[in-house]
C-alpha cells in the first residue's frame, strides 16, 4: 500500500453506500443462537489441542457510563447507581473464572483490552481487582512486547489515576476526544476540557505508556471543516502515536441515544466529505501514515512498521500487530474468536448475570466458520491489511483455483478497476492509493452474505 492518498471525492460520493467494517468476517449479523456454550467449549478444547496453541487476547467489556454521549452506538448502560456497577463486577469475576478454566494454563495472554462503555467509570481499586482476577485465572505475559490497553474517558481520569493504571500493568491507552469544539461537545452531551485532555496525554507518556491513541469523530452535529481543523491541530500538538478518526453514522432508528441529536445539525454529505478530506490531508502533512479504514499512526509506530512489512492484522479494535491470537471476550455482549469460531455473550446485563448465576458460560450466540468462510475471511483480511491479493497464496492452502472460484467476484471488480480503485492482473489484484479510502467497497465484493443479500441498510455509511 502506498502512503500518498488522493482524495477521490466523486468516487466516494458514488460508492458512499452502506457497508460493514470487517473487524470480523463473517460479520456479527451471521452469528446464530444454535452456537451455544457447548459449541464454544468444543472450539476452545480444539484450540488447546493445537500443537502450538495460539497465545491469547483478552477483551473485557465494562459497559457503564456516567453520562450518555448522544452519538454512541456501543452497548453501554448509563447509570449513576454504583451498586449496579459493583454487582456487575461480581459476575465478571465469575465469568473470568469460568473462562480461565477452559484454556490451558500455559497459554500466554499477550494482548489485553478494557473497553466500554467507560472502563474508567470504575475506580482504581475496582480496576485493579479485575486485573488481579484475570491474573489469577490466566497466564498474563510479562514481556515488554505485551499490549495491555484501556480506553480512557479523560473526564474521569487525572494524573494519579494514570500512574495507577500504569502500575496495574497497562502500557497503552486510547483516549476519547471526539471534538474539542464547545458547541459540538454540548450538542453531543460530552463536555470535556481541552487543556486537561492534552495534559493527560502527556501524563500518560510520562508514566511509560508506550502508545497513546486518540479517537476523533467527524460528522458530529455542528462540526464545520474549520472547527474540526482546530481540534486536529490541537491534538497534533501532543503527537499521539495513533489516531483513529471515526465517521459518525447518524442512525437514530437503530440507536436510541442518537435521537437526542438534532438531525438538522448533522453535517450534510458534502460537508462530511470536506471534513474527511481536510483531516486526512492534515494528518498526512503532519507525518502520519494512513493504515487503512479510520486509522493513522506515526511512521515509527509498530502499526506503520507492520503495514510496511505486510504483517498487519485486523481485530475488533481495528488494526493490530499481534500474531494471530485466540480472543476471549468477557463481560456483557463481548465477542470472542477462538479457532475457527466466533462467540458473543448475552447482550442484556440481566440475562448475562442470570446465566452466570447458574455458573454457566453466558454465551448468547456465535458461529463456526465453514471452509468457504475461512477462505473469504483470508481474502478480505488481505484486502483490508495488505491491499494486495496474490491468488497463489490461497490456491494451495484452500485447494482452489482462485480465478475459477472467484470468477464472479473478480468480474465485479472490473467496474472498480475502471474507476481506479483496484488494479487487476493475471495472478493478483492490488488496491490503488485511490482505493485505500474505499477498502470496504472492495472487500464487500468478496462477502458471500452480502452478495446473497444486497440490502445492508443498517451498516454505517462507508464514508
Amino acid at each position: 500500500m502506498s502512503n500518498t492518498i488522493t482524495f477521490p471525492k466523486e468516487l466516494i460520493k458514488k460508492y458512499g453506500l452502506a457497508g460493514p467494517r470487517y473487524t470480523s468476517y463473517p460479520t456479527a449479523l451471521q452469528f446464530h443462537e444454535g452456537f451455544d456454550a457447548e459449541a464454544y467449549r468444543r472450539f476452545v478444547q480444539a484450540s488447546n489441542d493445537d500443537l502450538i496453541p495460539r497465545p491469547l487476547s483478552l477483551y473485557v467489556h465494562l459497559p457503564f457510563c456516567k453520562e450518555l454521549c448522544y452519538y454512541c452506538a456501543c452497548n453501554k448502560k448509563v447509570t449513576r447507581n454504583r451498586e449496579r456497577a459493583e454487582t456487575y463486577l461480581h459476575y465478571l469475576d465469575k465469568e473470568i473464572q469460568l473462562q480461565g478454566k477452559l484454556f490451558d494454563s500455559d497459554r500466554q495472554v499477550i494482548q489485553l483490552h478494557f473497553g466500554g462503555g467507560t472502563p474508567t467509570y470504575y475506580d482504581d481499586i475496582q480496576l485493579r481487582h479485575i486485573v488481579e482476577q484475570l491474573s489469577r485465572n490466566f497466564l498474563l505475559s510479562r514481556s515488554d512486547s505485551r499490549e495491555f490497553s484501556i480506553e480512557i474517558d479523560p473526564r474521569t481520569v487525572d494524573k494519579p489515576r494514570i500512574a495507577n493504571l500504569a502500575d496495574m500493568g497497562f502500557n497503552r491507552v486510547s483516549m476519547g476526544v471526539q471534538d474539542f469544539d464547545p458547541a459540538v461537545q454540548k450538542a453531543v452531551n460530552r463536555v470535556q476540557n481541552e487543556g486537561k485532555t492534552l495534559r493527560l496525554i502527556e501524563d500518560a507518556r510520562e508514566h511509560g505508556f508506550n502508545s497513546v491513541s486518540v479517537d476523533l469523530i467527524y460528522g458530529l452535529p455542528l462540526q464545520t471543516p474549520k472547527s474540526f481543523e482546530r481540534t486536529i491541530d490541537s491534538v497534533l500538538s501532543v503527537r499521539p502515536d495513533r489516531l483513529s478518526v471515526y465517521n459518525y453514522a447518524h442512525l437514530p432508528h437503530l440507536f436510541r441515544a442518537q435521537r437526542m441529536i438534532d438531525s438538522q445539525q448533522v453535517p450534510i454529505p458534502e460537508v462530511r466529505l470536506q471534513l474527511l478530506d481536510s483531516t486526512i490531508r492534515k494528518l498526512v502533512e503532519a507525518g502520519y501514515v494512513y493504515i487503512g479504514m479510520d486509522h493513522f499512526a506515526l511512521p515509527d509506530d509498530e502499526l506503520s512498521l507492520a503495514m510496511k512489512n505486510g504483517t498487519l492484522q485486523r481485530n475488533f479494535q481495528g488494526y493490530s500487530t499481534c500474531r494471530e491470537t485466540d480472543l476471549v471476550g468477557m463481560g456483557v455482549s463481548a465477542i470472542g474468536k477462538v479457532g475457527n469460531s466466533f462467540v458473543q455473550n448475552q447482550k442484556d446485563i440481566r440475562d448475562w448475570q442470570a446465566v452466570l448465576e447458574q455458573n454457566e458460560l453466558p454465551v448468547w450466540r456465535g458461529l463456526g466458520l465453514s471452509g468457504e468462510d475461512r477462505l473469504r475471511r483470508e481474502v478480505i483480511l488481505a484486502i483490508m491489511c495488505q491491499g494486495f491479493v496474490n491468488f497463489s497464496d490461497f490456491e494451495e492452502r484452500f485447494g482452489i483455483d482462485f480465478r475459477t472460484h472467484f470468477a464472479l467476484e473478480l468480474e465485479s471488480l472490473i467496474p472498480l478497476q475502471d474507476d481506479g480503485l483496484v488494479e487487476l492482473s493475471e495472478q493478483s489484484f492490488e488496491v490503488t492509493p485511490v482505493g485505500l479510502l474505499l477498502l470496504r467497497v472492495i472487500a464487500m465484493k468478496f462477502d458471500e452474505y452480502l452478495i446473497n443479500d444486497q440490502q445492508g441498510k443498517s451498516y454505517s455509511k462507508v464514508i
Binding site: 488447546n48 489441542d49 493445537d50 500443537l51 502450538i52 496453541p53 490451558d104 500455559d106
Partner: protein, 244 residues
Amino acid sequence: MSADIEQKPYFPERLQVACSQCTLGDLCLPRSLDAAGLEQFEHIVNKSRPIQPGEHIFRAGDKFQSIAAVRAGCFKSYVIDKNGEEQVLGFYLPGEIIGFDAIHEKTHRANVVALDTSSVCGLSFESVTEMARHLPKLQEELFRVMSLHISELEASAADLSAEERIARLLCSLSQRFASRGYSAKEFNLSMSRRDIASNLRLATETISRVLARFQSAGLIKVNRKKVAILDFEKLKELARRDTC
C-alpha cells in the same frame, strides 16, 4: 462418549472382507500370504462399522479375545495411573495391530480409543493362532510385528532429551505416513499436544515450546495440527536416527 454408542456392537453383521483388495495389503498381517492363504485369512476377519472419535474399542480389564487391525483413522492406547492421570502408551495408524499386549494376561491392559472417525478389522486371536500353525508366513509376520513393538518400546525407554523425543516421533510418523501412501512431508496429526506429551513423558507446554523452536529453526512448519517437515536431514540428526 454417550453410552448408547458404546453399546452398539462394533461388528454389526458379517461383512465380506477382501484383504486382497485392501490398500493396506502391503502393511497388514496377511501381507506375505499367497492367494490361497489370503482367501483363508479373509474368513477370520470382521470389518467394523465406523468408530467415532472418543469411542473405545478396548477397555482395560476386558477379556482378551481378539486383536484389531486399523483400517482407517487413528487410535491411542492409554492406562490410568494410580493418581488417576491418563498415561498414553501409543498411537496406531492404518495397518497397525492393536492388542498384542493382552496375550500374556489374557486381559487387555490398555484402553484403546479412536481419535478420528476410524474403522478396524477384528481378528479372533484364537483363529489367528490356529491359522498361523498352518501358514508359517503368517506366523513369521506375527513375530515380526510383535518384535517391532518391542524394539519401539525399548527405543522409547532410552534416555533422550525432549528435542530428541519429539524429533523421533515426527520421524516415526513421517515414515509411517509415507509407507501408507501419504505424504512424508506434510501430515495432519489426530492426537492433541496433551496426548503427545503424555506419550513422550514430557510436559504439555514442552511439546509446544520445542515445536516452536523447531519451527523458528526452519525444521518444520506447524499450523494447528498440521505439520510440514522442511528439513528432514536436520530432523533425523536430532532424532539420532538414520532413517526418517
